[in-house]
Amino acid sequence: MAAPKIEVKYTQFTLPNGLRVILHEDHSVPMVSVNMWYHVGSARERTGRTGFAHLFEHLMFMGSGHVQPGQFDEWLETAGGDNNGSTENDRTNYWINVPSNSLELALFLESDRMGYLLDTMTPKTVDAQRDVVKNERRQSYENRPYGQADITLGELLYPEGHPYHWPVIGYMPDLTAASYDDVVTFFKTYYAPGNASLVVAGDIETETARTLVERWFGDVKPGAPVEPMTMPGVALAGVQKKTVTDKVQLPRLSLAWLTPSHLAPADAALDIVADMLAGGKNSRLYKRLVYDMQIAQSVSAGQNSQALSSYFLIEATPRPGHTVEELQKVIDEEITRLQNDAPSQHEMERSFNQVEASFYNRMERVGGFGGKADQLNAYYTQTGDPDWFNEDLGRYRPLSATDVQAAAAQYLPLGRRVELVVMPEGSK
């Protein structure tokens, strides 16, 4: 199979207030997705106010100058629409999917909260969503097996003061402390059109969509520019080892390394390393730990790519009767083997073929999280080029087996990493 050539045609323009706009036509179903990225995430939070970017995301659904509380969802549902938002370290995104005849409603709602959010914001609104977010934290972390350890991992990887040290969901006391005044400041600082990018994709006519976007977003006032974030590089000096307990049946081992940021050299090679270690039954760790020795119930590996610093994570759960020490010994043997010997051409080809197929699969859906609209916005944010699909794909095929070996050798040192173990409560 020839390497795929993926092209996503788009039109791009910038409004006088600084909002960057990308339009993409896809008429396969009569739906439109309005996808907005604000270039702010939990990394911009300050000490004592962790979790704020995400709490703020919740407030964006609570009405705005011309939309009473509740109407945002009621109007969209009446139009047959859906919506959601999410917050990460580096960005916050929002999408509205509507039947294409309701595009203008979606643009009205999206522009109203960009331009007039504070007109209806009250301390009571903040209190209400504070309670919801605290319950999100309880549900997703405190009441979920191994959930607390996921928070601990970031604290061990990144030093105090680094913006990836704290979790996106935030700490409970900080959620309690978040105030209405914080909301006002955060909105004015980070939610200006110049710090956002908008994708409208799906069943649209480009010229009409452009007119509607200009109309609905034209009256949104510009804000002060936001300085890009820069952080000095971080590195682990040695092994950061910690054991925590949880109400679980089985222990879990997490090994994590600080690795090059998203799209930096070796970022793609580390994706291939992850696939070789734990992607599929024939991957090196799965085959030994789960298939052959059967001392692990599961193993996973991944390069978690982020703007300021990435991390590579291996997690494994021992079978009853086996220990994390047994797993770690095998994992280290396999990492060392990959560091010393280049992988076979068959393994390389298998990984490339899967990467290429995944790019096709990502073309199927327009809206929602991970749809084409979201991907155009992601590429725009990361590279300045919305249609960066081929360039992204082009990072993989040219990699040699030696590149993959070198990435494992340079970035997965056994002596400089986090070793986090979760033990069942009450076990020895």
């Binding site: 396969s28 009569p30 549902e77 039947p99 007039y116 605290k134 109309r215 298939y291 009853p320 197929a357």
Partner: protein, 486 residues
């Protein structure tokens, strides 16, 4: 029936054509929708292979990928008594050795093609599903055919999956939503009914299965007369039919109808009862409230969709607005009818903060009682539009469409089902909604299940006087903790 929204749409049609960017936007009213987009549903082309195997195909040429599913009309509901879990394990074993290939060889060949191949079992059907770049289809189909038609059920692989599944059962005891879902079903259906036990099966059954058990179940269910093929994606029927014929057309073993289990009748609870599963120190209580709902064949399907959308099937639904937006007791709350060949459970559900558990139960019952009252017209119109207007968007990907075709085949939906769907929803009246609410939502007879920190939540729940309280242990839900053979 025309809704107010569509009348407005007609009156304002054409407005967008005269818009100009300079015109200041009128933010005093939400913009009204333009004329509804034409509903063009994909055409289903129905053919068959020389052995009679039906083939349903939908062409989609946007992305060069294709989904091929071999659908078998037997699922976990067909597990014989004492062998709960055999359907699930049989299907999982298909990829663990087939034709001349070992488990590792199958996985390597599939991964090398950049394909996804999976075998899985649902309650009413099983399937082998392939998703692959279309250029690799010819290479992937023979592997898929081996997996579906020529499994070898190797003993060593069975031992491995047995240990893996027993460990899964052990780990399921950690997760409150998993405990809640299973406990709720167990209480409603009891241990003898298939719906009262996890799809994975019981620990005792999993520990005892032999390769012959799996072969017997496979032989009884995987046969052409109990199977259909679905193809959705960037292929032309005339091109793909010969490929399907060469991989599946000579499959003739085991003709005749498959053996299907008959599920025993499951009586509705006579009175409301409260069940508590203790999860010490839990930060939230997982709540499930309901009873046995309806089968997929219910004549009330469309009114139930609308009624449940209002009660707990959308963000603006009453349960979510109350428990999340008004009170902040939960991250989200909802409700759903799990429709299967036989009547599956209806449950209203949420994870609620521990110190508001009793308050939350009170609000659940306020909404369950409230849905029995007449629905305001705007709320009814919103729910109908929400379900109907987004329907065309649900045919976007090969996965979306193949899932819809599977439903149509498994539940014998009429040929006009998809084309009539929007009309069927719009035809639902306020009286229909009230009638199905009163028939299927009977809060005085609902089972209330709470998985949470008993010492903190029991006094408050007791004070509500909802009904008798019973304590359920984790072992009663899951059976004794399995021991995993080394």
């Amino acid at each position: 029936m025309m809704t107010r929204r569509f009348v407005l749409a007609t009156a304002l049609a054409g407005l967008t054509a005269v818009l100009s960017a300079q015109q200041a936007p009128d933010r005093t009213h939400p913009p009204q929708p333009g004329p509804p987009p034409a509903l063009t549903l994909p055409t289903i082309q129905k053919r068959q292979l020389s052995n009679g195997l039906p083939v349903w195909m939908v062409e989609m040429h946007k992305v060069p990928v294709v989904q091929v599913n071999l659908l078998v009309f037997s699922g976990t509901a067909d597990d014989p008594a004492g062998k709960f879990g055999v359907a699930s394990l049989t299907t999982a074993m298909l990829e663990e050795g087939a034709g001349a290939r070992s488990a590792l060889e199958i996985a390597d060949a599939v991964d090398f093609l950049g394909a996804d191949l999976g075998a899985g079992t649902g309650i009413d059907a099983s399937a082998v599903r392939l998703h692959v770049p279309v250029a690799r289809l010819a290479g992937a189909l023979p592997i898929m055919a081996d997996v579906a038609l020529r499994p070898t059920f190797p003993k060593d692989e069975l031992e491995r999956l047995r240990r893996e599944r027993l460990t899964n059962l052990l780990q399921a005891r950690d997760d409150p939503p998993t405990i809640a879902a299973l406990a709720f079903s167990r209480i409603l259906y009891g241990p003898a009914h298939r719906y009262g036990t996890a799809m994975l099966g019981t620990g005792a059954a999993i520990a005892a299965f032999t390769p012959d058990d799996l072969r017997a179940f496979y032989a009884a269910t995987f046969r052409p007369a109990n199977t259909a093929l679905l193809v959705v994606g960037d292929v032309a029927p005339d091109h793909v039919m010969p490929l399907l014929e060469s991989s599946f057309g000579s499959w003739t073993a085991q003709t005749g109808a498959a053996a299907h289990a008959t599920l025993p009748a499951a009586p509705e609870p006579a009175r409301r009862e409260i069940y508590l599963v203790d999860k010490p120190d839990a930060a939230q209580s997982q709540v499930r409230i309901g009873w046995i709902g309806v089968p997929r064949s219910t004549p009330d399907y469309f009114p139930i969709q609308v009624m449940n959308t209002i009660l707990g099937g959308s963000f603006s639904s009453r349960l979510n607005m109350n428990l999340r937006e008004k009170h902040g007791y939960a991250y989200g709350a909802g409700s759903g009818f799990d429709m299967r060949a036989s009547a599956g459970p209806f449950a209203a559900s949420a994870g609620v903060q521990t110190d508001k558990t009793a308050e939350s139960l009170k609000e659940f019952f306020n909404e369950l009682n409230g849905i029995l009252q007449p629905i305001p017209p705007d709320e009814l119109a919103r729910a109908k539009n929400y379900v109907a207007l987004r329907f065309p968007g649900g045919f976007e990907t090969t996965g979306d469409i193949s899932r819809k075709l599977e439903d149509a085949l498994v539940y014998h939906l009429p040929d006009t089902y998809f084309s009539q769907y929007v009309q069927s929803i719009q035809a639902v009246t306020a009286a229909d909604v009230q009638r199905v609410a009163q028939k299927y939502i009977q809060p005085g007879r609902f089972v209330v299940l709470v998985v949470g920190d008993r010492k903190k939540i029991e006094p408050g729940i007791r004070a509500l006087n909802l009904g008798a309280i019973k304590i359920v242990t984790i072992d009663e839900v899951f059976g004794p903790a399995p021991s995993i053979p080394q």
